[in-house]
Amino acid sequence: MILWTMPDAGDQTKETYASFLTLFKKENPNIPISVRVFTRNVLWRRMFTIKNPTHEEEIPDLIQIPHYWTALLVREGVAENLSQLDPGLSLSTCLTPLKNHCYKPGTKDIYSYPWWFDISGLHYRVDHLKLVTNNPEKDLSTWEGLLNICAALREQFKDVPGYYPVQNGDWRGSLSIRSALPCVWGRGADLLTQDLKKTSVASQAFKDGLRDYINLALNNFMPILRERGSLGTMVSGKASLMLSRKLGLSTFDARRGTQVHTVPVPSTGDTPTAYMSGMNLFINVHSQHKKEALAFIKFCARPEIQVHYAKLLEVFPAFDEALELFMLSSSRRLHVYGKILTAAQTLPNITIMGTIMEILKRILAVCATQIVEGRFTQASLDRELDLAAKEIEYLLSIYES
């Protein structure tokens, strides 16, 4: 059986899987399983080619996807109907915000199954923040407060070469739409209107929200498009804050005794929100090993396995019982993330959701290049968003009407 997955544990992904799969193989010695790691970009493109593979292309059996791709894969006809494969399969214990992303829109047929989720938060180095504020939690509760703290940190560490107040949490080292979402939501804006019939990316609130996030790079508080591992890392002391969806606590605690605290993403407006990103598994309709793939899905959904994997990856279990176990196992985690979880939002499960994210990702990539080259203007960003709105409206008219 072949599992396609994403580099969720960074450079350690292969090792993490090797350790995790040992558990599965112990229980299922007759199910050989091999893992291929692809970036989200590559996986996205492959979602459109696995339907008609060429003779030299590998056919995966099981694939990890972000929660909002399910509708697309159902539409494309590449995802197996899991309810049909196993009528006993249930989502009754799955976390409510993640449930709808497993169904074929408008039905109760399960096409992808939840695995884990992560949620955005702001991590900060306690020792660094102490130097610039007496009450970091209060000062970091608003976006304006965050920018002020960044300015103070910049001044405080002006003699440290390669220092940036904020470590870039994006794997690509660029601007990330997923990190920008809480800023957009905080401004009361969204990607789509409530009835999902129109887009709001051209609205002023959306533009303001995106600009809030971009300001981190524009003000040179966060490095973009630079070599990672050299500049602005919290562990090396060259950064003090990080916006990330990873838990991060154990990593930082384990290294050099660095004390790191986590707070909700500062609110840019009246609504504090956090981006909850679920990861699901789906079975390729062309798979020759559907039963084996289903066995793996069920294995991953077991509470003790959920907790184990969440710890390995520094993410959260997707099912009630496992989440409860996981949260209760650390009072700090419970204290910090209990609050963040109440403000969690997911993306809607519609066919074009992945495309919308790709469009916005491209816009932010262009912004990042412009910032680095010193030619970014708000007008050019606004124009890009206006064009994106037209493109999204067109997609809505084709695929969601």
Binding site: P7, D11, K14, R45, F48, T369
Partner: protein
């Protein structure tokens, strides 16, 4: 015989001397070899993103495995780094806290010095960049190692280029074969609609487009007459002229004005279909959902294919037109007797096989000879056309009318019994009675057209097609004998048919 460098190069060359399916496969083979050779902790492969002046990480190799990774590094602000990398092909990074070098992979080394503003020009030949890392601060890269790494980098570039060329050739070959197969299928399908559906589904499958659409023009090539679309799920939908919005209609002009042009950033292409100067329609291929770019090679192949397709569509349309002409009467636009007989035989067989009813209705225009004699053949033809128009528009999809000869017409009514046939006969009678000859030919006199109709039904009246036709004709004979302008079913007038003679 060999020095160490040459021997290492030879060994490396041998290791890479095999056919790789794609760039990924080659890198998965080459990077671990370099990692072991230079005892590296990590080795990375970056693509040049020329338009953004960015090094875009594609693959990382550590221990014994390779893995996809993503990271973008802008080099536009790094003038020293860039200058050194482009001029010397190798440079050490100043930012990392451990030894790391970047090695440029390119087709040909630039022979002249780097001047301001020429960065992009130089990038055009670049294949990518390797980053080699050792985590131990004391294990820097010696000058001999750097020389060897550069030489091995050249070997990788060479192989990458060959792999890319091979891949492109194979892709082209596969596409040509696929398109050739599709053309054969298309050419052998006599019905245009069937062929088009097969071909569009095939094109979508081979090229893996999100959507493939075909728009066909009307006879005057002024508007889009119909559209066929294969969507992301492979499902085919059809649109008639009425269902096609004005925005889509305006595409016709745009496509033919712009011709087919390729832009690398595009995930949509339109290719006009034309034969000599006539516009047959156009094809639209898009990846707007997946946002994948459409490759130039695909574009070229599709252009060639489109010209074949245009010709085939034109031929198929011509064939359909010829068929139409041979099956339909030119004056009345009703099917001719030969075509009717074929359909009648098929339906009789079906009716017998599945115990279905079937009726036949024979009609002629009352006093048609007098109309011709009194007002001329032109008016006679006009009357025939009007009656035929009413017949064509008053029947169900399954009914088959036919001009049997002169002013005599026959209508086959499948799955219809005698009583149901009478409803149709009454409808025809009422609508035709409402027709008046043009008064300018009748000296202002209002002359209505009327028809007489005879009905016979299977299985009640007859058990064979010949017999059914005869029985309907007998019923018509009785109607005419009794004063015309009416209709009758055979079983109602059977006792009045004794003096019937088949003409």
């Amino acid at each position: 015989m060999f020095d160490k460098k040459s021997y290492t190069l030879y060994k490396f060359h041998k290791q890479l001397n095999q056919a790789f399916q794609n760039k990924r496969e080659l890198l998965e083979s080459a990077l671990p070899v370099l990692r072991n050779l230079f005892k590296l902790d990590r080795i990375y492969f970056f693509d040049w993103q020329q338009e953004r002046a960015i090094l875009s990480l594609r693959m990382m190799c550590k221990k014994e495995y390779c893995m996809d990774k993503q990271e973008d590094i802008s080099v536009i602000g790094e003038s020293n780094f860039l200058r050194k990398l482009l001029q010397e092909g190798i440079t050490e990074t100043e930012d990392l806290s451990y030894p790391a070098i970047y090695v440029l992979l390119k087709w040909q080394r630039p022979s002249m010095g780097l001047k301001n503003g020429e960065v992009y020009n130089y990038m055009q030949d670049k294949v990518g960049v390797l980053r080699l890392e050792r985590f131990n601060k004391r294990r820097g890269f010696t000058s001999q190692e750097k020389e060897l790494i550069k030489a091995l980098g050249q070997e990788i570039s060479h192989n990458l280029r060959n792999t890319e060329i091979d891949q492109a050739k194979n892709q082209r070959l596969n596409v040509s074969t696929a398109l050739n197969d599709l053309s054969t299928v298309f050419a052998s399908s006599l019905r245009l609609e069937d062929g088009l559906e097969i071909i569009l589904q095939g094109v979508q499958k081979y090229f893996r487009f999100d959507r493939v659409r075909l728009y066909l023009t009307d006879a005057y090539a002024r508007r889009i007459k119909s559209a066929l679309c294969v969507d992301i799920s492979g499902q085919v939908t059809r649109q008639t002229q009425e269902e096609i919005g004005e925005q889509e209609q305006s595409l016709l002009k745009e496509v033919f004005d712009a011709e087919a042009t390729y832009r690398s950033t595009r995930s949509v292409i339109y290719i006009p279909l034309k034969v000599q100067r006539s516009k047959v329609g156009f094809l639209a291929f898009d990846n707007v959902l997946s946002r994948r770019r459409i490759g130039y090679l695909d574009f070229i192949s599709l252009q060639q294919f489109a010209s074949q397709m245009a010709l085939s569509i034109d031929n198929a349309r011509l064939f359909e037109r010829v068929q139409e002409l041979s099956n339909y009467d030119e004056l009345t636009r009703l099917p001719v007797r030969r075509y009717f007989n074929e359909k009648f035989a098929e339906e009789m067989y079906r009716a017998k096989r599945f115990n279905l009813t079937l009726s036949l209705l024979i009609l002629d225009i009352d006093f048609f000879k007098q109309i011709n004699d009194n007002y001329g053949h032109q008016i006679g033809d006009w009357a025939l056309q009007e009656v035929s128009r009413i017949i064509r528009t008053s029947l169900r999809q399954t009914d088959v009318p036919c001009r049997f000869g002169g002013d005599e017409m026959v209508i086959m009514l499948p799955s219809t019994n005698s009583d149901e046939s009478k409803i149709i006969a009454k409808r025809l009678q009422d609508r035709i009675n409402a027709i008046t000859l043009p008064t300018k030919y009748t000296n202002g006199e209002e002359i209505h057209i009327s028809i007489s109709q005879g009905i016979a039904s299977f299985p009640t009246d007859a058990s064979s097609s010949e017999d059914l036709l005869e029985k309907a004709d007998k019923a018509l004979y009785v109607v005419k004998k009794n004063g015309r302008g009416h209709f009758a079913a055979y079983r109602e007038v059977v006792d009045q048919t004794a003096d019937y003679k088949k003409e």
